[in-house]
C-alpha cells in the first residue's frame, strides 16, 4: 500500500539525528514534527527568524508578533532564539541547518529539484526554498512518487524551472526511500506491501536496485 501523508512524515522523522537543527517546509514536511522518535531531540528552524519553534498557541497565547514561515501563529520553546531574516538565512546558507525537508513537483537523477513554478500558471514565488536547497547539509524531498495522472515525478531530467541543482540526495515518497547519486536513483526501502516492480514502473529516471530491498519501518 502507498503511504499516507502522515506515514510519509513518520518515515521522514526517522531520518533525524539527536541534536539536529531542522527546517521543515509547508505540507507533509511540517507533519514530520509530530513523529520525532522518543529519545531524539530536534530543534526546528523557521526561516522568518525563529530557532526553537514550538507548538501552536492556545487561545490565550496567540500573539500577532509570533508567527512561523507559513505565517501561522506559533510559540517558541524554552531555549529558542529569535533573529532577523539576514541572520536566519546566514544559518541556512552557511550550512548550519542539518536537515531541510521540502516538497517538490519533480526531482531528477542529477539531484536537481523543481518545486516552485509551473509555466502558464500564476507564479507566487520561491520564498526561501532556493536558499534552503543551496545551503542545507541534508535535503530530504517528500512527494508522491507519481502525479495524479500516474506520471512519474522522478525523472531523467526535470522539465519544470529548477529550484536548485545537484542538491537533492534523499527522497521519501509514498512508495519508497531513494538516494540520488552518480546520475541515478538508488532504491533503499519500499513502503510496506509495495513491490520493487511497481516502484520501477513509476520511476522514469534511471533506477538502481541492488540486493534485497527491505520494507520501511514507520
Amino acid at each position: 500500500m502507498a503511504l499516507t501523508r502522515d506515514q510519509i512524515a513518520m518515515r521522514v522523522a526517522r531520518e533525524f539525528q539527536d541534536g539536529s537543527y531542522v527546517n521543515l517546509g509547508i505540507g507533509i514536511p511540517t507533519l514530520a514534527a509530530n513523529y520525532v522518535p522518543d529519545g531524539i531531540e530536534v530543534m526546528l528552524q523557521s526561516e522568518n527568524g525563529l530557532l526553537g519553534m514550538g507548538r501552536y498557541p492556545t487561545e490565550d497565547e496567540v500573539d500577532a508578533d509570533m508567527i512561523n514561515a507559513g505565517k501561522e501563529t506559533v510559540t517558541a520553546i524554552a531555549g529558542a532564539s529569535i533573529f532577523n531574516s539576514a541572520e536566519s538565512f546566514a544559518m541556512i546558507r552557511g550550512g548550519h541547518v542539518d536537515f531541510t525537508v521540502l516538497g517538490a513537483f519533480e526531482v531528477d537523477v542529477n539531484g536537481n529539484i523543481a518545486s516552485w513554478m509551473i509555466p502558464g500558471k500564476l507564479v507566487k514565488g520561491m520564498g526561501g526554498a532556493m536558499d534552503l536547497v543551496a545551503g542545507a547539509k541534508n535535503i530530504i524531498v517528500t512527494m508522491t512518487h507519481a502525479d495524479k495522472h500516474g506520471n512519474s515525478k522522478l525523472l531523467p531530467s526535470c522539465t519544470l524551472p529548477l529550484t536548485g541543482v545537484n542538491c537533492i540526495t534523499r527522497i521519501i515518497t509514498d512508495l519508497a526511500v531513494l538516494e540520488v547519486a552518480n546520475g541515478a536513483f538508488h532504491l533503499k526501502e519500499r513502503a510496506p506491501g509495495v513491490s520493487v516492480e511497481e516502484i520501477k514502473e513509476k520511476t522514469a529516471g534511471k533506477l538502481i536496485v541492488e540486493g534485497n530491498i527491505p520494507e520501511m519501518t514507520l
Binding site: 500577532a64 508567527i67 501563529t73 532577523n84 539576514a86 538565512f89 507564479v123 543551496a134 524551472p161
Partner: protein, 235 residues
C-alpha cells in the same frame, strides 16, 4: 527636531519627501511587523510609480496590499506574493511588474545595500531562472551567481520600541526584515509602539542603532493575524 531627536509627530512629517517613482524598502513578513501607519500615509499621499522592496505585498485591503487599490505600485521586489487577488489581477493585466527574489537573497541584498557592499556571490538561484543573465564565478569548485544589493529612497520600518535617538528594538518574529530595511534607506522612517527616553533601552539589547534612523513616529497598530492556528486542545 533638534540634535539627535528623531521623533516626528505627524505622518505627513514622517513621509515628507516621498515622490513618484521612488524606491521604498519595507520591513515585515506577511502581515507581521509591518509599519501600518506609514503604509496608510503612502496611500494618502497618492504617490505613483513606486518600486516596493518587501518580502510580501500584504493581503487585499491590508498591509502593502492597500497601495494596489490606486495602482501606486509599479514594481514589487519580493520572494512570495501569493495572498492577494488584486495583486494577481494587476500582474496578469501587465499593470504591475514583479521581480521574484529568493528570500535569503532579498535579506542579503538589503543588508549589503545598507553596508555599502554593491554586490555579493551566492549559490542560491544558480542554475535556476533566478540565475539567468547573472555573472557566474566558481569558488572551491562550486558555482555562485553575482547578486546586486538594494538601497531605497525610503525605508519604512516597524519596531517595538525606539528611544528619541532612533535606537530600536523589535519584538519576537516581528523583527524579520525590519533591521535590514532600516539600514538600506536614504531616509529611514521607523513606526513604533512606544517611544522612550534615551537611556531607557539597554544599549546591549539594541537591534538597530539610531545612526540608521532618520525619523521615528509613534503609531497605533491593528496587528492583523494572517493565519491563526491554535493548539489542538483549543480548536
Amino acid at each position: 527636531m533638534s540634535g539627535f531627536d528623531k521623533v516626528v509627530t505627524s505622518y505627513e512629517q514622517a513621509m515628507q519627501g516621498l515622490k513618484d517613482n521612488m524606491t521604498v524598502i519595507a520591513g515585515g513578513f506577511g502581515l507581521c511587523g509591518i509599519p501600518e501607519g506609514l503604509i496608510a500615509q503612502i496611500k494618502k499621499q497618492g504617490v505613483k510609480g513606486l518600486t516596493i522592496v518587501s518580502n510580501n505585498c500584504g493581503v487585499d485591503g491590508f498591509g502593502l496590499g492597500i497601495l494596489l487599490e490606486d495602482k501606486q505600485i509599479k514594481k514589487m521586489v519580493s520572494s512570495y506574493v501569493g495572498e492577494n487577488a488584486l495583486f494577481e489581477k494587476q500582474l496578469l493585466n501587465g499593470e504591475l511588474e514583479v521581480e521574484l527574489t529568493p528570500q535569503g537573497t532579498l535579506a542579503e541584498k538589503m543588508r549589503a545595500g545598507g553596508a555599502g557592499i554593491p554586490a555579493f556571490y551566492t549559490a542560491t538561484g544558480y542554475g535556476t531562472p533566478v540565475g539567468e543573465g547573472k555573472e557566474v564565478k566558481e569558488f572551491n569548485g562550486r558555482p555562485y551567481i553575482l547578486e546586486e544589493s538594494i538601497t531605497g529612497d525610503f525605508a519604512i520600518v516597524k519596531a517595538w520600541k525606539a528611544d528619541r535617538f532612533g535606537n530600536c528594538i523589535y519584538r519576537h518574529t516581528a523583527q524579520n526584515f525590519n533591521p535590514m530595511a532600516a539600514t538600506a534607506g536614504k531616509i529611514t522612517v521607523v513606526e513604533v509602539e512606544e517611544i522612550v527616553e534615551p537611556g531607557e533601552l539597554d544599549p546591549t539589547q539594541i537591534h538597530t542603532p539610531g545612526i540608521y534612523v532618520d525619523r521615528v513616529i509613534k503609531g497605533t497598530f491593528e496587528k492583523r493575524i494572517e493565519r491563526k492556528v491554535l493548539a489542538k486542545e483549543d480548536r
